[in-house]
């Protein structure tokens, strides 16, 4: 930990605020421009946790995102909540990145920075993979703790202690810093930005980073640097009701039970 206190990096992502996302017919990637968007809710929790830790131990919270310039809005929201500065990695060369290529770009930026704790969301509402956190922890070769419900730091011993979701309960785990954690809903209630927070966010630094700034070969980024690609998009077969039943409740119940039996969701006594 540097003298200036904790260095916390929160990876955030802007996601569409509507479910009805549009897909580019040619590249088969999400069209992100000009859609109402918001800060991924898990990342909002991440920013809140970062700010709380800073408030407790001192230091600095940097939020970082990779995305189109529009994603700056999401950065501004984090700054309005109280994060100290923002970085947006934005470049045409990064378009079409899958999770591996996204994590790689984030890694190339973060490895140049000082950090004690990196916070990612459990998942993002649009891609819903939850890959980035573990990818990034691996690339940076640091321990990871996913699905954190409660967290504290032991500054002396440079350790993170967390309660995390696990199959069948909560695990209490510990890891040395620097480490990466991912958030869950319920970790905290994110604060609403105050008027002063919003006004001052407009004056905080938001650094724009291009693919060239990241360094390395351009072929590691974007669609080219992505091991996976969307080959085809198709309309799932639309569902037409198989049956609408209108009539005597007794018969209706019979029909429901039949369905449950036929679909093997329940099995009959006989």
């Amino acid at each position: 930990m540097s003298k200036a206190g904790l260095k916390i990096i929160v990876c955030i992502k802007q996601v569409p605020a509507v479910q009805d996302i549009k897909i580019d017919p040619i590249t088969h990637t999400l069209i992100r421009e000009s859609m109402p968007s918001m800060l991924n809710p898990w990342d909002e929790i991440g920013v809140e946790e970062g700010i709380r830790l800073r408030e407790k131990y001192g230091g600095e919270v940097t939020v970082i995102t990779m995305g189109p310039m529009q994603a700056k809005e999401a950065i501004l929201r984090c700054l309005a909540m109280g994060a100290d500065r923002g970085i947006i990695i934005s470049d045409k060369a990064l378009a079409g990145s899958d999770t591996i290529a996204t994590a790689y770009a984030l890694y190339m930026q973060i490895k140049k920075m000082e950090y004690d704790l990196i916070i990612c969301g459990k998942i993002s509402t649009d891609s819903e993979t939850g890959h980035i956190g573990p990818h990034l922890a691996e690339l940076l070769n640091i321990p990871q703790i996913c699905y954190v419900k409660k967290v504290d730091l032991d500054i002396e011993k440079r350790r993170i202690i967390a309660h995390k979701e696990a199959d069948g309960g909560i695990e209490i785990v510990e890891a040395p810093l620097p480490a990466l954690m991912t958030t869950t809903i319920g970790l905290n209630e994110p604060r609403l930005p105050t008027l002063k927070g919003i006004i001052s966010s407009k004056r905080k630094e938001v650094k724009v980073v291009t693919a060239k700034d990241l360094g390395g070969s351009l072929s590691n980024y974007g669609l080219r640097g992505s091991p996976t690609f969307v080959d085809e998009v198709f309309e799932p077969p639309s569902r037409k009701p198989e049956m609408i039943f209108q009539g005597d409740p007794k018969e209706a119940v019979e029909k429901i039970v039949q369905v449950l039996l036929n679909k093997k969701l329940i099995s009959s006594r006989s």
Binding site: I100, S226, P227, F229, V259
Partner: protein
């Protein structure tokens, strides 16, 4: 960083990480053996279950029965409990040594933590939450997964082609207890220092009385048609009978009938259970975006024009207060057990 492997012909074998916890196999691993079997047969390659743990060789016969040709078994004191560090290390070393072409990992909490870390170590592509697989003319695996309102076919240029799937998406094979899988024991060096994230202890989670809805197989959902909080009893009874979690619409949360953790829709959660029973729900777009991917939707609503009937698989027009008591009665009397519970028990029996 590992060099990306694009030498496709060098990679052979369909691998499934068959997770166990406390000596019990997770269903999703067996389900993925079912999905993997088809792909292995199409390609004429081996279906391999990868089993990690301590004292778990008793599970090998199950893996054979559920379709594995071969089981790679790594047993070690330090693999007794899942840790992402140890498991990633072992699986990465195995993968580098044997070069599988496909690697499936079940989307349990552990699996979702492990798979992307492993993919990054192997520097290969990974596709989450697949719902179907196929092989294209170039021999690549086609990963089918939902993409907004649509479905996408995703191809991975590198090897192994990694994928995760949620529980209950694929079907297990009917077990054949005469089938035996070949066992290959592997030794992997693990030191305590390799495990950076240490488990200090466990707390049992507070049980959500309504059940978690994100990963439920059966959901009984209610809307404003329920009329009052008292009537929740009815819903809870039905849910208990079906082993279901209880979900709801926003107005029921606004009225304080149910906590917001149970809300489905635009400002709530997205769910895709096998069965979604929508009771007294009109089917506003804001609600349906959160549940329309359910396998089967049964809607009960007294208004025949309710939009929920446009997306329901089965619709029942009628008064819920008449239908539910009858349904509950019928289920209590005539139905032996809930199928989903049977499967859970039944595998447990076999495994123990």
């Amino acid at each position: 960083m590992l060099e990306r492997s694009e030498e496709i012909p060098n990679h052979k074998g369909i691998w499934v990480f068959t997770e166990q916890i406390d000596g019990k196999l997770k269903n999703v691993g067996l389900e993925l053996l079912g999905a993997g079997r088809k792909i292995a047969d199409k390609l004429g390659e081996e279906l391999v279950a990868v089993l990690l743990g301590h004292d778990v060789n008793g599970l090998v016969k199950d893996l054979g029965a559920y379709g594995a040709d071969k089981v790679i078994l790594v047993e070690h004191e330090l693999l007794k409990q899942f840790t992402v560090d140890a498991y990633t290390k072992v699986l990465a070393e195995l993968s580098i040594k044997h070069k599988p072409s496909v690697f499936f990992i079940g989307g349990t909490l552990n699996g979702r933590e492990l798979a992307p870390r492993l993919a990054a170590r192997l520097n290969t592509g990974i596709t989450s939450d697949c719902v179907d697989f196929d092989i294209n003319s170039d021999g690549h695996l086609i990963h089918v997964k939902p993409f907004g309102k649509l479905m996408a076919k995703i191809i991975c240029k590198t090897r192994p082609q990694m994928a995760t799937a949620k529980p209950n998406v694929f079907k297990k094979l009917e077990p054949n207890w005469d089938r035996r899988a070949k066992i290959v024991r592997e030794e992997v060096k693990i030191n305590p220092e390799d495990i950076r994230t240490k488990i200090l202890g466990r707390v049992e989670a507070n049980k959500n009385p309504y059940g978690s809805i994100e990963d439920a197989d059966v959901i009984v959902a209610v809307g404003k048609g329920l009329c009052s909080k008292e009537n929740l009893k009815l819903i809870q009874e039905l849910a208990d009978l079906l082993g279901a979690s209880v979900a709801c619409t926003r107005p029921t949360v606004d009225r304080g009938w149910l906590p917001s953790s149970q809300q489905v829709g635009q400002s709530g959660k997205t769910v895709s259970p096998k069965l979604y029973i929508a009771i007294g729900i009109s089917g506003a777009m804001y609600h349906t975006v959160g549940m329309k991917n359910s396998d089967i939707i049964i809607a009960i609503n007294k208004d025949p024009k309710a939009p929920i009937f446009q997306i329901a698989t089965y619709g029942v027009v009628g008064d819920l207060f008449k239908i539910l008591p009858l349904l509950i009665d019928r289920l209590k009397k005539e139905v032996k057990e809930v199928k989903l519970r049977i499967t859970a028990k039944d595998t447990q029996k076999r495994i123990n």
